[in-house]
């Protein structure tokens, strides 16, 4: 309960902020009207006035934003929004991030980002596109008018209390008090906002009839920015979830995560199809559609997050009026965009043509279809519960499993194209060339995969995928690895051959040729680096098939016993999992003015060597309703190991969660996440590739003298040496630190010191640990189900066989607090009770044969559906109709694509044969052309 003072609710900051927003509102309406009318009437003064108005609008929104942040940092609790999302004890950075911590502020933040981006976009493109800049400004400002209408009339962040002013605020949601949340939302918002600029240019091009390629270069850059920031926002969100939510994963197909992912797909599709337009003059209309879809999905994502129509950990709560306003806005957008596209369709028709299925054009077309199918599938699955509730008045849930079983089809197809498309030529690739291009990467990938299958049995693991509600077990990890190897090999071949050709052409050394390739063909080779990043990301995704989890309850830490000297091997403070041993050393409670922290000190051992001391913790914020888990993550990297055994732990995260405590007793959940670090590494590579694509054109004059070439080569070698030296130094430092210092979650204020002398007494090996200890700890298991003991919730009633575990993974925890977690994963008491029900009910069935197991699964799921009265309790919708639409859409789309492409190919071949230049080239002009070509790099 907040203390309230009797102070006056007057706040000069609120008055000034509201005035700034009102003026900005009028201004953006003027800007939109003047821009559109000016462009339509060819009135220069109106257009220029609209441009200045856009700048002024940006400045006024900056004023409002600065004022609201000022109110946060000066604790102006007369303003409701400041009161709702901050308190005096928060550090300054979290007060700043409170700006976008709730609905009103996040809308203002959106408007600010769009205003700043549009200022830059208009300033950069004004001269080049004077004939349509009015429409660009008008479109952007119409979007701003919508958001400003919400801000001014409904969600004013400067609204004040009518009477008493509280003395302190409620505080920011504890989950958002994380450093990743300082940069994750801005990154995602920038990605969303950046999609508005291409949309505005697209609408302007359609409205003005200027449908040539001039505006495409501007649009491409902005879509790349959109792609980059969406990727950054998604990966930062993943990292935040990994560190903050404590469920051992980074992607849960949460509706709000999906909201950022859907436009990512369409933006990626656009970036590919625009290359076809630039290179072959095709797919103009389709590019317009993709541009519109990308923008539309960003608004859709905002709608899902803000209106509360879907349940999510990120959602801001239900608001039907807001939802209606968004629906009207999206309807208007669709009418305008579709109307303009239809109006200009004749001028958007392709002037190029397809001539073969084995061409790069067709691979891009296929890639577009898969990306769009993925986007639409995710959209459908995300909206399915809402659609079902609206139409049938019946709740449903779409859990992680639903996506994980369906999305790999699209992912694997894209992974194949990622490696195959670069090997294809424009127009057509003959059979011989196809063979020569695919042979080496194919053989390399096949050989390596077979080797892995022979040497590493784990790669033979089967994973369940779904096809039209039928589950099939397939060797997905092996197939994924095969495609990853193929992709990496094909990109490697592209670089290798490219360097060879360039070396031959320029006479320079291979290193210079590599840099030359990257600088002169940045888009192509930058794109290949992005592909490489995606392949590495898929390595991380493969790791999900091998992650393991276990729950342990340890009665007391070693610090609870007044013993000195080495810790006995059979001390109950030890617990083991998958070759690791963990020593529960101490549990301490500390507090500061924001929270009370309960921190466990645990040392992690392997092969008799201590790897690190980690500090999993739970923080109970004084102004938060539920505790947050502060997980301890110990990354195991190749360079950190000294023995081959340790090196075999290549890129595995040991992930410890303190799930509960009772006095000295502590409940731990341990995840081993193999290959997860490839996800972060893959993103870094992807970001590098995108930045290379975004680099402006730089002429790279080749050195003309031998001395010049030598100097260039020497510089490059020194640069490479410097990078290698830096990386080696960092690796060595990490290697040294890994064994001695703590990693993972940092202890809270006043946290326990590092492990004492007695903790350094290492047990010799896991083999030395008495069997009794292992048995007490629950033993080892590979199937992922926890087998804990003692008291608590997370470890209670764990499954003892695969069938029980499967059923638990198919049932959603209905406690109301958990967001779409299954009862297998959920740590709450309700989930433990549900698990008990499953164990009790399955005991009535025989599960000796596969058919009996299937029968038991169906019967148990049906019993839970009956108990809850709807399929809401199921993680995967059982109704086949739920699968019908996406499958029909995907396969129907593919069918249409193939039929249409077949027609195009036949017609293209005929037209190309007719259009062959018959006349001999004019010799003088041919010579001039050769001269000009010689100057092109």
């Amino acid at each position: 309960m907040q203390a309230h003072a009797t102070a006056s609710p007057f706040s000069p900051i609120a008055v000034a902020g509201t005035i700034a927003m009102l003026v900005a509102y009028v201004l953006c309406a003027w800007s939109a009207a003047a821009g559109i009318a000016g462009n339509a009437r060819k009135s220069r003064r109106l257009v220029i006035s609209s441009v200045y108005a856009l700048y002024a609008f940006g400045a006024l929104i900056a004023v409002a934003s600065a004022l609201i942040i000022y109110a946060f940092v000066t604790h102006d609790y007369a303003i409701r929004y400041v009161f709702e999302t901050s308190d005096t004890s928060m550090p300054v950075w979290y007060k700043v991030t409170s700006f976008w911590g709730s609905l009103e502020g996040s809308l203002l933040f959106w408007v600010l980002m769009l205003a700043l981006f549009s200022m830059v976009a208009v300033a950069v493109n004004y001269r080049k596109h004077k004939d349509m800049i009015g429409y660009v400004v008008g479109t952007i400002m119409l979007v701003q008018v919508f958001f400003m209408t919400l801000l001014v009339f409904q969600k004013n962040p400067f609204a004040t209390f009518l009477s008493d002013v509280p003395t302190d605020g409620k505080g920011l949601n504890p989950l958002l008090q994380n450093y990743w949340m300082v940069i994750h939302p801005p990154a995602l918002y920038i990605g969303f906002v950046a999609a508005t600029i291409p949309f505005a240019f697209g609408i302007a091009a359609l409205a003005s009839g200027r449908l040539d390629d001039l505006w495409l270069s501007s649009v491409r850059t902005w879509m790349l920015i959109c792609f980059f920031f969406l990727s950054l926002g998604l990966i930062l969100g993943g990292r935040w979830a990994y560190e903050e939510l404590g469920w051992g994963g980074y992607w849960a197909w949460d509706p709000v995560e999906n909201a950022g992912f859907i436009p990512w797909f369409t933006a990626t599709a656009f970036l590919h199809s625009i290359i076809i337009q630039e290179q072959r003059g095709m797919m103009k209309g389709w590019n317009m559609v993709l541009m519109f879809l990308t923008f539309f999905f960003t608004i859709w994502g905002t709608f899902m997050t803000r209106s509360g129509i879907v349940q999510s950990v990120h959602a801001f709560g239900e608001d039907k009026l807001l939802a209606l306003q968004f629906v009207i806005f999206m309807g208007l957008l669709t009418i305008i965009a579709v109307g303009l596209i239809v109006y200009r369709w004749q001028r958007l028709s392709s002037t190029g043509r397809f001539e073969s299925f084995t061409s790069r054009e067709f691979s891009f077309l296929l890639n577009n279809w898969i990306l769009l199918a993925c986007a639409l599938f995710i959209l459908f699955a995300t909206m399915f519960p809402t659609i079902k509730e609206t139409l049938l008045n019946e709740r449903a849930t779409v859990g992680i499993g639903f996506y994980n079983k369906a999305m790999p089809w699209g992912g694997l197809s894209l992974l194949f194209l990622l490696g195959a498309a670069p090997l294809l030529a424009w127009r057509r690739t003959t059979r011989e060339r196809l063979l020569s291009q695919f042979l080496r990467p194919g053989l390399f990938a096949l050989g390596l995969t077979l080797l892995l299958l022979a040497v590493v049995p784990a790669t033979r693991k089967l994973t369940t995928l779904t096809f039209y509600a039928f589950d099939v077990d397939l060797p997905i990890p092996a197939v994924t690895l095969l495609l990853i190897f193929f992709g990496v090999a094909s990109i490697g071949q592209e670089f290798w051959r490219g360097i060879a050709v360039r070396t031959q052409q320029t006479g320079s050394d291979p290193v210079s040729s590599l840099f030359g390739l990257l600088l002169t063909k940045r888009r192509k080779y930058g794109g290949y680096i992005v592909h490489l990043g995606m392949a590495v990301l898929f390595c991380g995704f493969v790791g999900k098939a091998y992650d393991r989890m276990v729950d342990r309850t340890i009665a007391a830490p070693i610090s609870a016993r007044a013993t000195t000297g080495p810790v006995a091997d059979n001390d109950p403070a030890w617990f083991a999992f998958q070759g690791y041993r963990f020593l529960y050393e101490e549990l301490t409670q500390t507090s500061d003015d924001r929270k009370q922290a309960t921190t466990a000190r645990v040392s992690v051992w392997k092969d008799g060597k201590k790897l690190a001391t980690v500090f999993p913790a739970q923080w109970q914020f004084f102004k938060g309703s539920q505790p947050t888990t502060e997980v301890a993550i110990l990354p195991r990297v190749w360079l950190g190991g000294e023995t081959w055994s340790q090196r075999a732990d290549f890129s595995e995260d040991v992930y410890l969660v303190l799930t509960g405590f009772n006095g000295e007793q502590a409940n731990f959940r341990i995840y081993l996440n193999p290959l997860v670090n490839f996800v972060w590494l893959g993103f870094l590579i992807l970001a590098l590739g995108t930045i290379i694509c975004l680099l402006p054109e730089i002429p790279v004059p080749a050195p003309r003298t031998r001395l010049g070439r030598a100097a260039e080569a020497a510089t490059l070698v020194l640069l490479a040496l410097g990078i290698v030296a830096g990386l080696t130094k960092a690796a060595v430092a990490e290697s040294q630190g890994a064994g001695a210092t703590s990693t993972g979650a940092q202890p809270a204020a006043g946290s326990p010191a590092t492990a004492g002398p007695q903790a350094e007494q290492a047990p010799r090996s896991l083999a030395d640990v008495p069997a009794a200890v292992l048995a007490q700890a629950g033993g080892e298991h590979d199937t992922g189900q926890g087998m804990g003991d003692g008291q608590g919730y997370a470890h209670l009633h764990r499954p003892s066989d695969d069938t029980t575990a499967w059923i638990m993974k198919e049932l959603i925890c209905m406690c109301g607090g958990c967001q779409r977690e299954t009862i297998f994963e959920c740590k709450c008491a309700f989930a433990a009770e549900e698990r008990k029900k499953v164990i009790d009910r399955i005991s009535a069935y025989s599960v000796a044969t596969p058919s009996e197991r299937e029968h038991a699964k169906k019967a148990l799921l049906a019993s839970f559906v009956k108990e809850y009265g709807s399929e809401q309790v199921l993680a995967t919708p059982a109704s086949k109709s739920s699968w019908f639409i996406p499958v029909l859409g995907a396969l129907g789309g593919l069918g249409i694509l193939l039929v249409v492409a077949r027609k195009w190919v036949v017609r293209g071949k005929q037209e190309f044969a007719q259009d062959k230049p018959a006349a001999q080239e004019d010799a003088a002009y041919a010579e001039r052309l050769d001269d000009e070509l010689a100057k092109v790099d």
């Binding site: 940092v73 424009w426 127009r427 062959k916 002009y925 092109v936």
Partner: protein
Amino acid sequence: MQKDWTMSSPKSTNKSGKRQAAGTRNNAESAPPAVALPVAAVHDSAAGASSVARYVGWFVLAVATLIGWGFIAWVNRYRLSAPVVFLQLGWLAVTSAVYFLWHTGWVALAAPVTGDDPWWQPEGQREALLREKKSLLKAIKEVEFDQLMAKQSRADADELIAVYRHRAIGVIKALDALDSLHASASPREQLEREVRARVELLNQSAHAAGKNAAKRAKAQVSERDRATVKKQQAEASIAAALAGSQNGAPGAVGAAATEVAAGTPDDAVAGPGSNAHDQATREPSVAAAAAAVPSAIAITQTDAAGAREAVATPAEGSTQAASAADVATAEAAPARADKDITP
């Protein structure tokens, strides 16, 4: 107070890479002769003044911002803290908002431009063709690169390259035709365009200067004289420059310059003054220009047809080609014949 609200920088780069003062030559060259540009749009002689005005504006903005920052720092006893930083950022935004708001209103209240405003032509035919050529050259290189990397068979690559080359040669021819219109076809036409533009400029300048009838009448004589002298000087200098630049025909160009200077005394003399007078002077000027331009129009139209022919080749697939043809057709119109193709 005249102000350049066209948002152009004080200096802009022309096609040949030479830098020139904004608002002077650009406006003069691109303005259609028969159109009376409003006061706010011309600012010819005020190019320098508008630059000064813009710099004054920025200076006032900077001073206001600094004063505000100083005041905020003083109130907070020069301690840098989060509130101070955000307050100062807010103040910067306030001054910027006032600056841009002022411009928004100022521009909106300016007199409208009537007629065919050249401002709406962001890119000329030449740029479109150059872009098309660059794109085709890159496409040829890309196919060659693919072929060298063994992605494409020699025969396929040759076929595709032949198409691109055919198209590229068409573009180069179109560019040549365009260039010949500027450079080789007629120094006289070039000169006439320049003269016409300058006369227009002087007319506009004078028009802007006088609103009072008495003052106009009084100023007419002196302005006339001044304008005549200025114009003759300008024409002579242009003629000399052109004569110098034309190898082998200096005499002809010089004669053309003299002829033009001598043949348009009324234009020069009647330039500034009343609106009626403006109109009177403009009409002969247009008539003269119209008489001088037919050959240019013919060439431009041929050129447009050539460009269209070039893009209507088998390689119709190129979007740039189509747009180039559109631009070519559009610019073949007499009213614009001398707009984007002025060197």
